[in-house]
Symmetry: C2
Amino acid sequence: MFDSIIINSRVKEFYTVNFIDDLVKQITKIANEEDNVFVVDEKISKYFATELDCVFKKSRFIIIECKEENKTLEYSQELIRRLIELNIRKNNRLIVIGGGIAQDISCFIASILFRGLDWFFFPTTLLAQCDSCIGSKSSINFDQFKNLLGTFNPPSEIYIYPGFLNTLTENEIKSGIGEMLHYFLSESIEIAKEVSAQYEQILSNRTLLPYFIQHSLRIKKNIIQIDEFDTSIRHIFNYGHTFGHAIEAISQYKIQHGQAISIGMDLANFISMSRGMISEDVFFEMHNILNKNMPKFKFDQSNIEKYILALSKDKKNKGNKLGSILTSGPGKLSKVFLDFDDSLKNLILEYSLKFQN
Amino acid sequence: MFDSIIINSRVKEFYTVNFIDDLVKQITKIANEEDNVFVVDEKISKYFATELDCVFKKSRFIIIECKEENKTLEYSQELIRRLIELNIRKNNRLIVIGGGIAQDISCFIASILFRGLDWFFFPTTLLAQCDSCIGSKSSINFDQFKNLLGTFNPPSEIYIYPGFLNTLTENEIKSGIGEMLHYFLSESIEIAKEVSAQYEQILSNRTLLPYFIQHSLRIKKNIIQIDEFDTSIRHIFNYGHTFGHAIEAISQYKIQHGQAISIGMDLANFISMSRGMISEDVFFEMHNILNKNMPKFKFDQSNIEKYILALSKDKKNKGNKLGSILTSGPGKLSKVFLDFDDSLKNLILEYSLKFQN
């Protein structure tokens, strides 16, 4: 398996990503320490009932229902009550097994209960393994506002077990690939090309994924070590995200995150080309990679106004300008503020006519 | 006025305590920056209506009702909604004017809204000026549990304006004096003796207080810079607090914090003497100082069981042992775990008979 990755942090000095191939061994070891309390995604608790048997037999644990509607203060309070019933103490540690939603809720609780609990994380989705497990963020929805609340609080140990990837649908894998492509293209074209060359094999053989996961984490690590709290250079990772989030929103989240940002990057590249930042050749070099991972989706007169409205609500905007990350070629990202005018709208429609499925 | 105090922090690199004598000038300067949003204790907003006029005229502000029952997630959510109505943004800063409760609630909100907002703090009580304004902690009650939730998130600037002290009752001043005595005795006997010598003057002339406030903050600074997250040496500041908290609890919080810990320290000293850690001389040297600040309160058969029960719930306990800070003399504190047995109970009753009013 791959070497551990150590990430320097302002919050925790450092924390470690470990790649493991024996889940039972690792879980058993942790379950043997009575200070640990497990927080397990309901789906994972069923899929991996055998592997988690030692947890359910001898450890304190709670099962959490991982859906977007539960990323709230109310659900967090419910879980805190269940942890208190388990007699949780300040010197206890949460062991979280699940995807991004399990991470968001548990990390938030670990940030505020007893002014902070130690926690370990076993990410179970490709998105969580290749991206969210590092970077310290938790996100909680508040009223109608997505991810309005949150904290920076990384786990002290992360265990990546590739076997979890077998539980995922093809769309979930594609979503993770989209997120990884965004990291790869923020550095260079090379690894994105490898993904493209092996795209079909990756979808059918998930043992190919850890190689890309560790590359993705390595690229993210280099930036978050400099800007953990997302105030400067880490903004480049909004590449594809501003345009992608708005696609997710107008699709009512039917289009998954990483697939939406595949379109988002392609659109950002198209706008970059229109501004003379990249040549047609460079645009197509990236388009041919991204296109493989793009879902069926079109901008047209029926949704363009809604899309512009969704973009206008992005929290990275300044005044009446759209804060977007554009590219001068792979590895050369920069922040540009775009006017919300007809030319932006027409550019998006032109992009769609030419390049969308 | 006194020199600024700079405190090194893991959360914020450093933050600064500034002593100011012109409140209007400072507030006006801050109110002129439109990124600032004020959070003002209702009582202070009335007492200092003239000084805060520039805030109420041209700044965004919310008024908060500072009572213990409002240190909850529910009230925090209500305030977050009011901040959203004021169109608060990630790059805005909260300017908090109030005592410890205003600090707890606002610091908590500043920790979780947008994953963290910058904030300034104008502490208005003696307790907040001499103690809580530094040290990074916020505390939120949860169900029946006091201060179960919280964060570490210091303000980036603290402004100590002694004029606020004129709004306080004598009991509130005594409460602050108790907290300061606890810092002084954790270092040496010298400054505690000065307090004792001038005790009556201090109560009648509050301009004498800033001298003691800056000494108190200096002592606290030296420890929190080493152990900001309260995992080791900062525990010495529980001196008098374990015994004091339980007095507050059984008095239904009629006895104020700093007065309760004046008794708490005296009791801890008495137990230290009974264990041969200090001589009778040293006990009396401290007792004669603490006694001036001790409220009317007695342990007897009517409350001793309740008191022991309250002590048994202290979160610093380990197993069935009471985690308490005892003294080998001024400046020489250490943690000792005491058995909950009849000898502890008898010792407390003996102390009360001999030394309580």
